[in-house]
């Protein structure tokens, strides 16, 4: 049985023969207590537990505190720390190099909801096969504490006064742009972050994770919507989420009874188990998802969980009918037309 360790193999080795250490990155240079670090740790845990080969992942980011974090996990994965707000385009192009690879993109609220809003919305439309994490703290950290576009109206920050503008809701923007997987979580809820990361990774297409990730230096006052304290007080999980790897039905039968759970079958054979918390929430219903987000806005709830998922739409590469061999392994023979074709082309000119 695959769940049990093989004889002679240490228990801390996963099915691709790696230890958790093999998923680590360079030591973080972010502030102690930064929500982003806990998210990096959950990425490490999720990838280890899912037995993902690091060479099968490409990391992407833009610019900002959040965008530094891909250095802090999965050293053995290729990474591209690109330009402010432009991670989606870099990731889109890179994906065509080897479309068997899965992207993990890490962005922030400035990188996504301000300078990168255009690319964010268009990468949703294209359904790039990537987990798009927004480490959302409502504030610009590296430039020392300016409002971001997700900051709540009325937020007061040192030197900035009160924020006069309405916030951008990243999940709402994603949903409206036809994202196929939209979730919100809270860095203070590590277990949920990890399970959502696994579900997002299993999703075939773009998976947006809007993770409220407090900035302990510039925006962690108890009354700020992006603080740990506010998150703990206002979190309203839609459900308890558990990711079940492919071919692990035994766990399913034993632990979860019919009726109180909802199952979402993922593209790779895995299953997301959503244990209802008295809400009967259906994340496959886009209309209901928009309603849930609207309700959260009106009531100042931090609604977390899998807000929306659609497993039917083709991911970007599938719409291009690519050869099975990764494009970056093709040779002259595949790429340069035969010599006879030059005559054909010349004949087509006048």
């Amino acid at each position: 049985m695959s769940a049990l360790p093989m004889a002679g193999v240490p228990a801390n080795i996963n099915t691709v023969g790696l230890t958790k250490n093999d998923y680590r990155g360079a030591p973080t240079t972010l502030c102690a207590g930064c929500g982003h670090n806990s998210i990096s740790n959950q990425i490490i845990a999720a990838m280890y537990e899912m037995s993902v080969l690091p060479e099968n992942v490409i990391k992407f980011s833009g610019i900002g505190c959040s965008s530094k974090s891909p250095t802090y996990f999965m050293n053995r994965s290729f990474g591209f720390n690109s330009l402010h707000g432009r991670m989606p385009s870099i990731a889109t192009g890179a994906h065509f190099g080897d479309h068997s690879l899965k992207g993990i993109g890490v962005s922030g609220d400035g990188d996504t909801a301000s300078i990168g809003m255009g690319q964010f919305k268009h990468v949703m439309r294209r359904n790039l096969n990537m987990v798009y994490i927004v480490e959302n703290n409502g504030v610009y950290g590296l430039t020392k504490g300016q409002f971001s576009a997700t900051a709540e109206r009325g937020l007061e920050l040192k030197k900035q006064g009160a924020n006069p503008y309405m916030p951008v809701d990243i999940c709402m923007e994603a949903l409206i742009s036809n994202a196929t997987f939209v979730a919100r979580s809270f860095a203070g809820n590590a277990k949920q972050v990890k399970e959502l990361l696994k579900a997002a990774f299993a999703h075939n297409g773009i998976a947006v994770l809007d993770i409220i990730s407090p900035c302990v230096t510039f925006n962690n006052q108890d009354n700020a919507h992006y603080s740990y304290a506010w998150g703990r007080d206002h979190e309203e999980p839609l459900h308890d989420i558990t990711y079940i790897a492919p071919r692990n039905e035994i766990v399913l039968e034993r632990e979860l009874a019919e009726g109180e759970v909802r199952e979402v079958a993922m593209h790779d054979g895995s299953v997301i188990i959503l244990k209802n918390l008295g809400k009967g929430y259906d994340p496959t219903n886009r209309f209901e998802a928009l309603r849930a987000l609207e309700e959260a806005q009106r009531n100042n709830w931090l609604t977390t969980g899998l807000i929306y998922v659609s497993t039917e739409k083709p991911a970007l590469a599938e719409t291009y009918n690519l050869v099975d061999t990764p494009l970056n392994r093709l040779t002259d023979a595949d790429l340069r037309p035969a010599p006879a074709m030059i005559d054909k082309v010349n004949a087509l000119m006048f």
Partner: protein, 617 residues
């Protein structure tokens, strides 16, 4: 009246969107098929329908295919531009016009031919009412053909090509051509001197626009990823890739070895292109001035992170939105200095449709060899107009994918490698590509400071070392770049340096200067930046060097002066940019104005010491 044979211009003034391009291309192609060297230039407005537009055709037995300033034959179909068109005809020229335009004819020094286009089309039962305006253009083709002697069979060949063999439109249009011919035969008396007579000077040649040539060249170069955003005059380049890819890269399994993505803007277009280049694809984008401006930040990233990408800039005239449908050579300075901070650029400068094809595939080899962005500067005239060309030639060298380490290479190195290590002392490091399964293959790419192993650092000495290596890399680049083209003249002490689409007009201007002013001039057409040694040599070896280009500030002149400070006083700028393709006239006059009093020199080529003066007054 002396006959003028195979050496005149035809300009058609119509309304944009009136379907005249079929008629004008038919004239152009028919002349080409008669074996007469010919060029066609569309001088069009930024508009979909209604504004005046001109199409200028030049037949030249001597092969001068630059724009001709003198308008010999003018065909006026557009009432809005009628008065201007009439005034534009050179003395002794000919003026054809649609006789439904009831405006005064004020010229007695030219031949005047009214044509009852509307009437002929209206009473012809073979032309459906819906098609009258479109097909009506063919009446002037017929009348012109009759008056100057365009071969009717060649017109049919041109129409067959244009309509891809579809008989119905071919017949309908050909019928209208014949109607125009017959009417002219019966009603017009020849009063102008212009005649076409068959030659054999286009044998074995093709006609192509530079954007199509660039697209096909890119496909033969193994293009795998194209991201683009629509912009005049570059759109037809990416569209031609879409047209030719399926045919040229067809596989039995029906699957694709490439992807073409229309991005949401030029930021995303270049971003995707950089992403794909980084992951190991032959990756390109095409744009024009405003798009290139948007691409600046990514170009800097590609420079510093060392990512191969090919960026075609089909130049139009700026600044800002400028004249979106007019040509220019004014993006050179911008491209050369693109990006904040210190940077270098590799710029290829094709001169015609054939070189658009050549540089189409070569640009990928250079980009991947150098791990750097390669800009290719074409222009609207080259990109969108039909140019006579040698047939495209199959690439002579295999694809150069540059320095890439795959799993077996890393095995041999025992995983010991550094992304930015100058292992070969040529400034070019090795790279790995995503998907490489060797556990030591991955590295973290960034636009921030990095050491030889791609690790983040702000260490001053590491920064300097990396910047010096980049400098060395761009020095290495010179040996991979196309050499300039020299048109030598015996005993010349004066030179012209230029680049791009102006070559034909410059050759014509030189011949005129030699004929009328005894000036012997060598011409060097630069084909790449950074300049190779041949360019500096040419500057050294000439008393005066006129730098001819289509812009206001003499950008190439500035770059040459920077590269050859000791020769700066001998470099003379002849720059002019009005959005129209270069003509021999402005080049000739520009050079004469700058060399007023220049004496006919037969002196030997000067040494550096005695050659530091401009032409004396």
């Amino acid at each position: 009246m002396n006959k003028v044979v195979n050496d005149f211009s035809i300009t058609v003034g119509t309304k944009n969107g009136s379907g005249s391009s079929t008629a004008n291309n038919t004239i152009l192609r028919a002349i080409f098929k008669m074996g007469i060297p010919v060029s066609g230039k569309n001088l069009f407005p930024s508009n979909i329908q209604g504004l005046p537009t001109w199409y200028s055709i030049r037949a030249s037995k001597d092969g001068y295919l630059g724009r001709r300033d003198e308008l010999d034959i003018v065909i006026a179909i557009n009432p809005d531009s009628f008065t201007r068109d009439l005034a534009s005809v050179a003395p002794g020229g000919a003026f054809f016009y649609a006789d439904d335009i009831k405006l005064p004819i004020t010229r007695a020094d030219i031949a005047i031919y009214p044509m009852p286009i509307k009437e002929l089309v209206k009473k012809d039962p073979n032309i459906p009412a819906d098609y009258r305006d479109l097909v009506g253009n063919m009446i002037y083709v017929g009348a012109l053909a009759r008056m100057i002697g365009i071969d009717i069979e060649k017109i049919q060949a041109a129409l067959t090509f244009h309509f891809k063999g579809k008989q119905k439109p071919i017949d309908m249009n050909f019928h209208a051509v014949q109607a125009g011919m017959e009417w002219a035969k019966a009603n017009l008396e020849k009063k102008d001197p212009f005649y076409l007579e068959p030659m054999n000077k286009t044998d074995g040649m093709i006609m192509a626009d530079g954007n199509t040539a660039a697209a096909i060249g890119s496909v033969f170069g193994g293009a795998q990823f194209v991201a683009w955003y629509p912009i005049t005059p570059a759109s037809s380049l990416a569209e031609a890739i879409n047209d030719y890819m399926p045919m040229l890269r067809k596989r039995e399994d029906g699957k694709h070895t490439y992807a073409v993505v229309q991005a949401e803007d030029e930021l995303a277009a270049i971003g995707m292109t950089v992403g794909a280049g980084w992951s190991g694809l032959r990756s390109m984008t095409s744009t024009s001035g405003p798009g290139l401006s948007l691409m600046t930040e990514f170009a800097g990233l590609a420079y510093y992170a060392e990512v191969p990408v090919v960026i075609w800039d089909v130049q139009r005239i700026g600044p800002s939105t400028g004249l979106p449908t007019r040509t220019s050579q004014a993006d050179l300075s911008f491209t050369v200095g693109m990006g904040h901070g210190d940077s270098d650029s590799i710029v290829l400068l094709p001169g015609d449709a054939f070189e658009c094809f050549e540089f189409g595939w070569q640009a990928f080899d250079i980009a991947e060899r150098m791990q750097a962005p390669v800009f290719v500067l074409s222009d609207l005239d080259m990109g969108m107009n039909q140019w006579m060309s040698k047939p495209f030639e199959y690439p002579k060298t295999p694809m150069d994918r540059g320095k890439i380490l795959w799993e077996k290479d890393l095995e041999e190195l025992k995983g010991n490698w550094g992304r930015y290590l100058d292992k070969d002392s040529d400034g070019i490091p090795y790279r790995t590509l995503p998907g490489n399964k060797h556990p030591m293959s991955a590295y973290f790419t960034r636009g921030t400071g990095h050491d030889e192993y791609a690790k983040y650092t702000e260490d001053s000495s590491v920064f300097i070392r990396n910047m010096q290596r980049l400098k060395k890399k761009y020095e290495t680049a010179k040996k991979y770049l196309p050499k300039p083209v020299l048109h030598a003249a015996k005993g010349a002490t004066v030179g012209i340096i230029a680049y791009g689409s102006t070559e034909s007009a410059i050759l014509e201007a030189r011949d005129q200067l030699t004929r009328d002013h005894g000036m012997k001039i060598d011409i060097l057409r630069v084909r790449a930046f950074p300049f190779t040694a041949e360019v500096d040599e040419f500057v050294r070896e000439h008393e005066q060097v006129y730098v001819v280009e289509m812009n206001r500030d003499g950008q190439l002149h500035q770059l040459l002066s920077l590269a050859n400070p000791e020769a700066a006083t001998r470099l003379i700028s002849v720059a002019y940019g009005d959005g129209l393709p270069a003509s021999a006239k402005w080049i000739r006059e520009g050079i004469l104005a700058k060399s007023a009093g220049e004496k006919k020199s037969t002196a030997k080529k000067p040494s550096l010491k005695k050659s530091n003066k401009k032409g004396a007054k």
